[in-house]
């Protein structure tokens, strides 16, 4: 039978200061873990949530991103009527040629960032159904009007509805604010593609084309056709794949974050080990008594291990609570791939909370293991002698 848990809980409470300090160390490590993972989750979400499950992105062959791609008008014309592309009820083809350009914009607090200005045609709203205009209206193609992603509003100058936004070589009126379910379009400004082409003096080039697949269409067939047709000769992939590759930023951060958290955890584990060793040392007589009464050595070890676990998991829960305020906080991050600023929100997901608790438990087990073993290995006679 087991040594009752209340013995461990009360023993933890009796040495209040020591428990609090060790617990505090663990709580901080868990808090760091949660913050970093929330950053990664937020970044990941912002990037990968951008894609549509039934969209394909077409780029020049060899291009890794829209930034380094160029597509000519005749290539676009040649692909427009392929059977795998969805059509609107009115007959319009769901093919959106796009030209994203990095333009410098000024931050509200000072300083400037490269922001993606995406030249699009009105069909873009149909091809990217996640994008919704929540305030104002869509821009008018013949004038310098733009819609601004919600993630930029308030963080950059002149991004509110009705303002005159300056970027590129001219002035643009903000006529609408858009959301995109947290994806990277929310960090962009959208304007008419011809105006953007003129402004950036890109001639008649597009950077990429987004195609929406017709229901039941063969994606692979479309991709092959786009590559093999000599009039087209472009590379295509699903948006899901495209944005997954872009998430390299988030992945780098995840690795870095995990390394930091693990190393910090090692420090906390050493601290916990010290505390547990001290606990075992000061309770040697108790251990001897319990063993003498007939509790098996394993029961003693389990008891101390549990004590360490209880301490660690409780501290972990506190750490999670400490880190919680960061949930939903928005910030921007430099997207190394697109050379532009990406707005994202920290996301403390349920998975992160579970992972954090497990992390705390592992710290508790690691810190308590050796001291618990020592408690088990003592001979009863020696333990009792220390009274």
């Amino acid at each position: 039978m087991a040594i009752p848990l209340k013995y461990n809980v009360r023993s933890l409470l009796v040495r209040r200061v020591s428990t609090a300090m060790t617990g505090g160390g663990i709580a901080l490590v868990v808090a760091v873990f949660v913050i970093v993972m929330a950053l990664v989750a937020g970044l990941n979400s912002a990037i990968s949530d951008t894609g549509d499950p039934d969209n394909v992105i077409v780029l020049r062959k060899g291009a890794t991103t829209e930034t380094y791609s160029a597509i000519q008008l005749d290539q676009f014309d040649a692909m427009k009527f392929l059977p795998q592309i969805r059509r609107e009820p009115g007959g319009e083809v769901d093919a959106s040629p796009e030209l994203p350009v990095q333009a410098l914009m000024y931050r509200s607090g000072g300083g400037r960032d490269n922001i993606v200005v995406r030249g699009v045609l009105p069909i873009a709203l149909k091809v990217h159904p996640k994008v919704k205009i929540v305030e104002g209206r869509m821009f008018n193609p013949s004038v310098n009007e733009v819609i601004v992603g919600k993630g930029l509003v308030g963080h950059y100058e002149n991004t509110a509805l009705g303002s005159t936004l300056r970027f590129g070589r001219g002035k643009w009126k903000v006529v609408g604010i858009m959301t995109a379910e947290g994806g990277s379009f929310e960090s962009e400004v959208w304007g008419d593609i011809h105006n953007v082409q003129d402004d950036a003096q890109r001639g008649a080039y597009y950077a990429d084309v987004r195609l929406k697949l017709a229901p039941g269409a063969d994606t692979d067939a479309l991709i092959r056709r786009l590559a093999d047709d000599p009039r087209i000769n472009l590379q295509a992939q699903t948006e899901a794949d495209y944005y997954k590759d872009q998430a390299v930023v988030a992945n780098q951060m995840r690795w870095l974050g995990m390394i930091v958290a693990v190393i910090m955890a090692v420090g906390a584990i050493f601290g916990a080990m010290n505390t547990m060793y001290a606990a075992v040392a000061s309770r040697t007589a108790e251990i001897g008594t319990l063993r003498a009464l007939g509790f098996a050595p394993m029961a003693v070890m389990t008891s101390f291990l549990l004590e360490s676990l209880v301490l660690a998991v409780t501290a972990g829960a506190i750490g999670i609570v400490l880190a919680m305020p960061i949930n939903g906080l928005t910030s921007t991050f430099g997207n190394f791939v697109t050379f532009s600023a990406l707005a994202f929100s920290f996301r403390v997901t349920f998975a992160i909370v579970i992972e954090a608790l497990i992390f705390a438990a592992v710290m508790g087990a690691a810190g308590g293991w050796l001291p618990a073993r020592q408690a088990m290995k003592m001979t009863i006679v020696d333990a009792l002698r220390s009274v």
Partner: protein, 242 residues
């Protein structure tokens, strides 16, 4: 179960290694203690009495020789088996009470019962009975630090009897008590022996103890120096109920 000998030690030797030195705590000791007796083991410091007690209680292993307690051969038992055996057959009383400070008197007495299959209600019943026997029913929820030395030892005795062990083993039970409390405790032990037929083996320095026991075993330098009858019969202060 009526066994001829509650405790049977045959040519038992216990050697400790302290760094490079060998200490012969017990040297070829043979002792047979009948059941139902209240005996004392006495002798000067270093005579091996605590060692002998530890062997009887199953918390130490003999280097050579045979140890049988309550009819069970415990000589070769492995630790895990021994732990279970102790829980069933031995009740321990220590000089410094060895109560768990973070548990109440009730919870301390309950500890040995956690090693049995009794359910919560049954355990409660046993604990209450044991505490009544030692006269501490009104202190059930007190923590050890809230009790006097004598009271703590009584809780310890309650703990020792609560699982109805075959043998009670006591190591200097009065060593840390004042005269009055010491007499009370000794009286309590006599009651255990008389009323509940418990075999009690007690290691002690206390000369008063001779008045309470049936037999005195004297050890000197790890060897059995003599066996004498105790001076039982002197008025055991039964009035010593806290």
């Amino acid at each position: 179960m009526e066994e001829k000998y509650a405790i049977d030690l045959e040519h038992v030797t216990r050697i400790y290694k302290r760094d490079e030195f060998e200490v012969r705590a017990l040297d070829d000791v043979t002792v047979q203690i009948p059941a139902g007796r209240f005996v004392a083991i006495m002798g000067p410091s270093g005579s091996g009495k605590t060692t002998m007690l530890n062997l009887i209680a199953g918390i130490d292993h003999a280097t050579s020789g045979r140890v049988a307690v309550g009819g069970d051969e415990i000589t070769g038992m492995k630790e895990r088996e021994l732990a279970g055996w102790r829980a069933r057959h031995i009740g321990l009383v220590f000089q410094f009470y060895n109560l768990i400070p973070v548990l109440t008197a009730f919870e301390n007495v309950e500890l040995p019962l956690l090693l049995t299959h009794l359910n919560k209600a049954e355990r409660r019943e046993h604990v209450e009975t044991a505490l009544k026997v030692v006269g501490l029913s009104d202190r059930m929820d007190h923590y050890p630090r809230q009790l006097s030395g004598g009271q703590e030892q009584r809780v310890a005795i309650a703990r020792a009897i609560v699982a109805d062990p075959t043998i009670i083993v006591a190591d200097e039970p009065t060593g840390d008590l004042d005269a009055k409390s010491a007499e009370e405790i000794l009286g309590l032990l006599v009651d255990m022996n008389r009323q509940f037929q418990k075999t009690i083996v007690m290691v002690t320095h206390d000369p008063r103890a001779e008045r309470y026991v049936d037999t005195v075993y004297r050890l000197d330098k790890g060897v059995l120096a003599g066996v004498e009858p105790g001076k039982r019969g002197a008025p055991a202060e039964a009035a010593a109920r806290g």
